[in-house]
């Protein structure tokens, strides 16, 4: 069980299961302490506050270092930063990157979500009880593999493997714009990236939705079965409606992860800076994170500043997605009719 995937605690306090003993103690009025106890309490509270400070600091320092790029006139920027490639402003440069980032993440999510939901259902409602936790652990292992290894695997093993499939798609479904164009002979294209990202998202989406599925009240499942529902019909009438908001937030957590993933994209994708939906053509898209990692080592001070500005954009996007996901989960905890 990893922390990204453990159910969030916001708002949990209200339902107070037996494993949550602390509030009773806490409710006993104001903490009166002195000496070492007071110092200790301050240290603990300080550490808690530090979390908020760190998060704020991330934003502040990014803005500080991005400031030069944000305030320099566009003409000077393009002159000093070689890789701006004729974009006439920073915004015009960030645009295609945001597009590429969202496209890659959306592809990954589209592939991963149905599979992850299937796995979660398999573990929660189909697999024999005795095997279920072991099988769940196998899926969690996918999360233990470092992203750089996924990148290596994607570029050297998966890409050659899927190239014929992409070529086939291009030949027979090429009339769909998504699959059109000159198919890449190396398969270093956004669809391959989406596939690898999807593998990386599987354990996250699976873990969260598995938790939610397991929380479905047994009463509702039995009510459906007693009405003469098959297993799938029981899942459709009792489990899925109950889990809907949980599934949404699981997918959004996955989205947040996909948006920020660097190495797999960096190592697989042949980059380009276009607003292009061509999934099988090389040199079309690039993501913010991969672009930073690719350009950072050789960038001049103004270039670094511009890269940090794009990083700031990524930070804001993922922050919003994650906050939305967490807020949904937190609200769900309060209003779920579970107990």
């Amino acid at each position: 069980m990893t922390s990204t995937t453990s159910p969030p605690t916001a708002g949990r306090r209200s339902d107070g299961p037996p494993s949550r003993p602390a509030p009773a103690l806490r409710r006993s009025g104001r903490v009166r302490d002195r000496g070492a106890s007071r110092v200790f309490r301050w240290a603990a509270t300080g550490a808690g506050a530090l979390i908020l400070v760190v998060l704020a600091a991330v934003a502040v320092f990014l803005v500080l270092r991005a400031w030069p790029a944000l305030t320099t006139p566009a003409a000077e920027l393009t002159e000093k930063i070689t890789w701006l490639r004729g974009a006439d402003s920073l915004a015009a440069f960030v645009g295609p990157l945001v597009f590429g980032t969202v496209l890659a993440a959306a592809l990954a999510l589209l592939i991963a979500t149905p599979i992850a939901l299937g796995i979660a259902l398999f573990i929660s409602h189909y697999a024999p009880r005795r095997l279920a936790s072991g099988l769940g652990y196998l899926v969690d292992l996918l999360a233990a593999i470092p992203s750089v290894v996924y990148g290596l695997w994607g570029a050297l093993v998966l890409a050659p493997l899927v190239q014929p499939v992409w070529a086939w798609l291009n030949r027979y479904l090429g009339w769909i714009p998504l699959f059109g164009g000159d198919v890449s002979p190396t398969a270093r294209v956004i669809l391959t990236v989406g596939l690898v990202l999807a593998v990386m998202l599987l354990p996250i989406i699976t873990a969260v939705s598995r938790e939610v599925f397991l929380q479905t009240p047994r009463l509702h499942e039995e009510a459906a079965l007693a009405l003469g529902a098959t297993r799938w019909e029981m899942i459709r009438t009792a489990v899925l409606p109950f889990a809907r908001s949980g599934i949404i937030s699981a997918a959004m957590l996955g989205l947040g992860r996909a948006l920020g993933e660097t190495m797999a994209v960096l190592m697989i994708l042949s980059p380009g800076f276009l607003y292009s939906f061509k999934l099988l053509v090389a040199g079309q898209q690039q993501t913010i994170a991969a672009n930073i990692a690719a350009q950072f080592p050789e960038a001049n001070p103004l270039g670094v500043s511009a890269l940090i500005a794009t990083g700031l954009a990524l930070f804001v996007i993922t922050l919003l997605v994650n906050m939305a996901a967490r807020a949904i989960v937190a609200r769900r905890k309060d209003f779920s009719g579970a107990n």
Binding site: R129, L219, H220, L227, A229, R244, G337
Partner: protein, 259 residues
């Protein structure tokens, strides 16, 4: 519209543990049969074998026969899903689907089987089922509101409406009033008395007055000790059980000496 159930040599297991042993009894059609007995004696477990809900629990299994008018419900060619359509069930705690409206809850079972039910038929069925459950007058103005907004007793009657909407032969009730207040309990008991005209009803209850009030026949279950399987001690006319039971343990239980 109702059937007789014959149980023979029934043993019920959770994994290796035998929870209920050697049950042999008959449930008469169009009557109410009550199961009483101390906690843990396996009466709820036995009830769940009558519509094959027992096997939903992992590791649970059954030996012996449960025959409905001569057809063994555990026969090879029998589909458990079909059995549950013929033998409906109402649970201890009311459990309407929280994401569905009152009307949708009533139709839930029917929708599973027959997706193309015309709007008019659906409305008729909702009204008939809710009337059958004595709930129509209370909810007819808010059929599209969530079922979870009702009181506990109303929710339980909604669950009964949902069960009878599928038109089962038999209705199983697992302590249907244990989570309800006395007034709601009374409403349910009245309902049971009406329903037995058209259904075979089996009810598990902890409340002996309730068993005496609603049932025609009563079965007493007991267990020899913890770790021992539960057994059927005796089954007879309710009046006989409560006035002159054959077994000493039945009398002890009924007179409140244990349990």
């Amino acid at each position: 519209m109702s059937q007789r159930i014959d149980v023979k040599d029934l043993n019920i297991f959770y994994g290796d543990f035998r929870a209920v042993a050697d049950i042999e009894m008959a449930v008469e059609p169009r009557s109410v049969t009550a199961f009483i007995g101390p906690s843990g004696c396996g009466k709820s477990t036995f009830l769940r074998t009558l519509n094959r809900m027992h096997e939903v629990i992992p590791g649970a299994r059954v030996e012996g026969t449960v025959a409905m008018d001569g057809v063994d419900l555990y026969g090879n060619d029998i589909d458990p899903v079909a059995v549950r359509r013929q033998v409906g069930m109402v649970f201890q705690r009311p459990n309407p689907f929280p994401t569905m409206s009152i009307a949708e809850n009533v139709l839930a079972g029917v929708r599973l089987n027959n997706r193309r039910i015309s709007k008019g038929d659906a409305q008729d069925l909702v009204e008939a089922s809710l009337r059958g459950a004595n709930l129509w007058n209370e909810v007819k103005d808010r059929l599209d509101r969530p079922g979870s907004g009702l009181s506990g007793g109303q929710q339980q009657r909604l669950c009964i409406a949902r069960a009878i909407a599928v038109k089962p032969q038999v209705l199983l009730m697992d302590e249907p009033c244990s989570a309800l207040d006395p007034i709601s309990t009374l409403a349910i008991e009245d309902l049971i008395a009406e329903l037995k005209a058209s259904y075979t009803i089996v009810i598990v209850t902890h409340n002996m007055q309730q068993a005496a009030r609603v049932s025609d026949r009563t079965a007493f279950f007991n267990l020899a000790g913890t770790g021992q399987p539960g057994r059927l001690v005796e089954i007879d006319e309710t009046s006989t059980i409560f006035s002159s039971p054959r077994e000493q343990s039945t009398e002890d239980y009924i007179s409140g000496r244990f349990g």
